[in-house]
Amino acid sequence: MSKEPLFSAKNLKLITGPIGSQNPITTQVLGICSALAVTAKLEPAIVMSISVIAVLVFANLIISLIRNSIPSRIRIIVQLVIVAALVILVDQILKAFAYDVSRQLSVFVGLIITNCILMGRLEAFALGNKPWPSVLDAVGNGAGYGLILIIVAFFRELFGSGTLTLPGLGELQVIPQVFYDWGYVNNGFMILPPMALIVLGIIIWVQRSRNKELIES
């Protein structure tokens, strides 16, 4: 059997699928809770995305490496322990190196454990596949999750606060002061959780109307 190239068409599809038509948030509707909670500003959304990608990649990799040794009766417990350990690591690292952001994310870093995307990928993919495809699958799903989070956060912060907060750059005033002088007012509703759901709904609507595969007969 000839060795499969690292980025074969099949492997690449593991990354592009979840970003597009197999997106965990817009198509599978998983991980909604955190998508509502951390998207009022751009920076926490970016940090949350990176955290989820990190946890997902390592969890998928570890589970895939030990998949043949896990006793099937306690496999969910094993998955939980590994995800929980990784999440605590991320939380500790954020507290040490990005304290302000960790304060903003507060309980939501801990809640990565309960993010359905994680358990879903571990059960559905990592338990039955080799390490390398598992890593790609994790990157794809994490990126798909992060992409939606960042899009939602972008619109919510832009229209809700008139600013964009980027890691390392701080809060940037995007809507110029002149607009406010002319009578423009920030939409305070954008900062509240319901608007995350509405923005998300619009994204799903746009995606479904453009992607024929997703249209239900």
């Binding site: 306690i74 094993v78 350990a85 040490a96 309980v107």
Partner: protein, 237 residues
């Protein structure tokens, strides 16, 4: 070895837990100094915020030095100064003692123009965990100059709103004493009347957090009562 057998399953679980625990303990120890430094800076930001001095993690230590510096001390229940470093007092520990035996830290802020504000440190219980705050009092020992509150894990959007400026700004100008007797400040559901100097509006949907905050205020104003009365007396002289 039979991978579905009980022995294998037990050994597997035990080994996994020990390995994971060791790893987490190691990381926690390694990162502790950095985390403690961050917490110290965050505490200084909170203290500064209660006197409306905006600080970031970059300039908090410098601003703290300028405004407060060494002007902090500990008072006891009777309002007398006691030995010790105010910044190192852990209210979580003090809270377990009876009110009469606690140590109460005071931070004196010297603002531009020579005004002096007295920052009191508070701690209590919210719904899910501890809540805390810093209340700065004018030199009359009665009216509030500013307040800031924090929490460990109150519900975002509900109890966690005590952290927001909108809630905290309500405390400005409120009074702790009513004609010399301690009255504290009530956190009223459905909105306190605007002119009442002993009421603020509670957080909607955060009843238990609001209640906890009210208890915390009452508890600690009681603790600082003698100190505040001494301030009031001094301001008449």
């Amino acid at each position: 070895m039979n991978k579905q057998g009980n022995a294998y399953t037990f050994i597997y679980a035990a080994v996994m837990v020990v390995v994971v625990a060791a790893l987490l303990a190691f990381v926690s120890q390694a990162l502790k100094p950095r985390q403690e430094r961050n917490e110290m800076v965050a505490k200084k930001i909170d203290i500064l915020q209660s006197i409306k001095v905006a600080a970031t993690s970059a300039d908090a230590e410098q601003k703290y030095e300028e405004v407060i510096g060494a002007h902090s001390y500990i008072v006891d229940f009777s309002g007398n100064k006691v030995e010790g470093v105010a910044f190192d007092v852990d209210l979580a520990v003090e809270l377990r003692k009876p009110a009469e035996e606690r140590l109460y830290p005071v931070y004196e802020a010297h603002l531009e123009g020579g005004e002096v504000k007295y920052i009191l440190q508070l701690r209590g219980a919210g719904l899910w965990g501890p809540i805390w705050g810093y209340v700065s009092v004018n030199s009359d020992g009665n009216s509030i100059y500013g307040a800031t509150f924090g929490h460990k894990g109150e519900t975002p959007g509900l109890g966690a709103e005590i952290e927001n400026d909108g809630f905290q700004d309500q405390f400005v100008g409120k009074q702790i004493f009513d004609n010399g007797t301690l009255k504290s400040i009530a956190v009223v559901k459905g909105g306190g009347s605007a002119g009442n100097v002993h009421q603020v509006d509670a957080v909607s949907g955060g009843t238990i957090t609001s209640q906890g905050l009210e208890n915390m205020l009452g508890d600690f104003f009681k603790g600082y009562e003698s100190f505040l009365k001494n301030l009031e007396r001094a301001s008449h002289e």
